[in-house]
Subunit: 362 residues, 3 copies
């Protein structure tokens, strides 16, 4: 009923290059670090059921077929051919790819080729800082290289992403740390750090965020736990009017709060993705909740997919179906006009992302 | 399907007396202080779409007509005639009007005349204190005049409203501040203050709240950010049994928590208004969520409208439609009896407010 | 539409042995400690309307009959016969009964006999500690007796329940307190305490939780106020991998957060009960929200009923109806397969509880 243009997936990761067994595949459906509880399986989740609904038909099987049968067919086709079939059925024309997760994942060009789409890179700030630390000998060189790396990355990427809020909530304290404070923190971190060590120092996380803000590139923030009004609100207030857009990722179950912030601050945007993929049959209800307070020009589709092309498929299908059901329902009951509904669908599906990230029109 | 009596709008403001251009009108649809983000408009919100749905037909236009056409028609009629037509189509028979916002707004008598309704005043405590400070020379006279002003206001008003929770969450600390503490805070505030300066000192905000509690008039509290259980809960516990009712305003997205508090404390009530106006096509879902935990005798309709009579219209129409859909649905599936549904509709629409504010029966 | 096996009610209390007047009955429908607000009644709540919907037909009256008529019929039958009729209409085959609330309540064997069902005991930790304190002369004997009592209770009970989180949020600090800290807290508490005095010391509450964790029996935690991610999250992290399951009770309005934790931690489970009984006509919406993030093997039905067998009835009926509507709806729209829906219904209704509490198959 509701028309949507080809989608811009404003936040996702690459897909695994290796053949997957049932256990590895299942692990990507869960949300914690560990295995499922004894007697349970991650296939028994909304994500698992959504994968079984949408993906088997794309590989020639009936919907909801047993996981083992699906995995067997996937291996029969091979990881490359299965990936191509799945990605090309998403209706996504542009992927924005966070390249900051470990694992044997396809990069943007490879994802673009497999999906017959465009792809652009999102640079994850903390990984950048960790890589700079691996190759810098002194505090001075680390800080200089860090500034230069962020600057250099900004030239080739469409956005920065940060997990500062998730790693250390108060990393989003409202103002940039002082130079002396940064030097001290860098010295302590570099001294204690082994090669590959994670950045979780709140002062350095803040410093990094503010270098990124200065670049002018949109900044994507992963939600931490808890109400984002308390910790993102301050950061939003501090960065208002500086000309850098802030995109809130992964808001659920605080998605209504993220939508609220997108309504209050002109430079704050809200992401839809994982809220849909994680809730499956409930995706339309989630979309409707986000559409309560988020201005329609401030909401961005994403799949949030990581590792499995099945998750790109599910993200895109759930989104289009949810949009059709929610906006179509409002048109049917006279609350919205048909023209407005199609226009808003286009904004959330692609138009807003094209404007925010400066992508060429489709 | 569901019968509702004429509404009591238990919390709103007056409407602007001046002719409005497209930009000024649009600004009243947004929620932040600033302009919309580049490339977006506040008309692309649930509130904007709801205004375009309900208001054009009241001025002789088709629903969902373009904003510029609606504004042209509004100017053609003139602000007074447009206001009369809109307000008289709300079905609201009684307005309770918070007079504490700045701007060229109609007061209660003017709003009553325009809407062919009754109107009563709600006095905003912080503004009262700021006005007293403007005319008091010493700490002693300030504190004496403050007590007298609150006492005097209580004689003519139906309720007090406070933004203490929104300005300073811990202003709702559970007990009244000591006399010495109050004198010290007053001295500091008066010394530092210029004429017209806002009150945000937590000690004085608390002092003011407790003077108001002593008056016995219902006290309306604007929600701050964050879970009200943490900061309103303590205040509710401290004021239980004192004989003063507390009405929680603007709860969204914590409206379920406000409803919970209304269920736990006999003297706590929950407001519906802005949750409906802000969410438009989702108003029925919001109403249903509030009706989960709020006892049906503890919930009060309001529009929360400010500046535009269109917002009074939208508040009233969304409320009646939501009530019909939610309660009508429960009757249709056998969960509620028809008689109970009509009775509860009457309570939320008007009966509860008439009881709490001591208004004469319609 | 959706098949459910006989239910395991994984958390409830006994029913009152005495005949009830209208006022006492009404008091059990409210959620606070006090009476309803002037001019209101606890019958005007979702719970009150749900009781009037489901229970009168079980005693030979029409649905939604007036409360006074229902109570008269209840007294006519007598408390024992009314209780038998109500409990035997629940479809519950196994009750897990928290025996830690005061009042003239039936214990597990009596509840089992009245309901023609099985019943097992859940031991409330804080009451156990208070009883031990009543009979221990010294700090040494108190601590020794406490350990022994928990150990002894573990042999006969199916689970422990704790209200530590509700009494003192930081009682769920992540690690067990040190031995010296425990002795000091015990000395202070015992010295200050009168017979029957409640345990609310956070150090002793923590100590008690960790003795219970060591027993290996599932531990049911009552939610406090506020987001459980902040205070339960730490405890969950600290107890991960120890082999003891943690079941989160009473999550509403943070039920989505509880479901999130059940998805992240293998040993954490989420309870459904009071969220359904308290929200009545909205039970299906609540169930759907919990089913967004909770893995289907991690969710457990309960009634949370206390005092009135009507609440066991309402819990069971609302649950089955909600399950039929939500899962049946997903099957009808193709999101879930019919076989999966029946299987998941069986898990939540009984299978998960049988696995977690080691109950024999039905």
């Amino acid at each position: 009923m509701i028309e949507t243009p080809p989608l811009v997936d404003q936040y996702c990761h690459g897909v695994l290059r290796t053949e997957l067994g049932l256990g590895t595949f299942e692990a990507h459906l869960g949300r914690g670090d560990g295995p499922p509880a004894p007697g349970t399986t991650f296939f028994d989740t909304q994500t698992g059921f959504a994968v079984r609904r949408w993906c088997p038909p794309l590989l020639g099987l009936e919907p909801h077929c047993p996981p083992a049968r699906y995995l067997a067919r996937r291996r029969e086709l091979g990881v490359i051919e299965a990936g191509r079939r799945l990605l090309r059925a998403t209706g996504i024309s542009t992927y924005l790819v966070d390249t900051g997760l470990p694992g044997d994942l396809t990069g943007p060009p490879e994802l673009a080729a497999a999906g017959a789409a465009e792809a652009h890179e999102i640079v994850r700030l903390e990984l950048l800082a960790e890589q700079v630390a691996d190759t810098s000998g002194t505090v001075e060189s680390f800080l200089a290289n860090l500034a230069e790396s962020v600057h250099g990355a900004a030239a080739g990427a469409v956005a920065f992403a940060s997990v500062a809020g998730a790693r250390h909530g108060c990393a989003l304290a409202p103002e940039p740390p002082g130079a002396g404070e940064v030097r001290g923190a860098a010295a302590r971190w570099l001294a204690a750090r082994e090669v590959g060590g994670q950045l979780s120092d709140p002062v350095l996380l803040r410093h990094l965020l503010w270098i990124a803000v200065a670049s002018g590139l949109p900044l994507q923030l992963h939600a931490g736990s808890g109400d984002p009004q308390s910790y993102v609100g301050e950061f939003a207030r501090a960065t208002a009017g500086l000309g850098t857009d802030v995109v809130l990722l992964h808001g659920y179950p605080y998605h209504r709060h993220a939508a609220h912030l997108a309504g209050v601050f002109p430079h704050v945007y809200a992401d839809l993705g994982p809220a849909l993929v994680r809730t499956g049959a409930r995706a339309a209800s989630l979309l409707a909740e986000v559409l309560e307070l988020a201005p329609f020009g401030k909401l961005l589709f994403s799949s949030g997919a990581h590792g499995l092309p099945e998750l790109h498929v599910v993200g895109a299908h759930l989104f289009r179906e949810a949009l059709g059901r929610v906006l179509g329902g409002w048109v049917a009951e006279g609350a919205w006009s048909r023209g407005d509904a199609d226009r808003v669908a286009g904004l959330i599906a692609a138009g807003n992302a094209r404007r925010v990230y400066g992508l060429a029109a489709a």
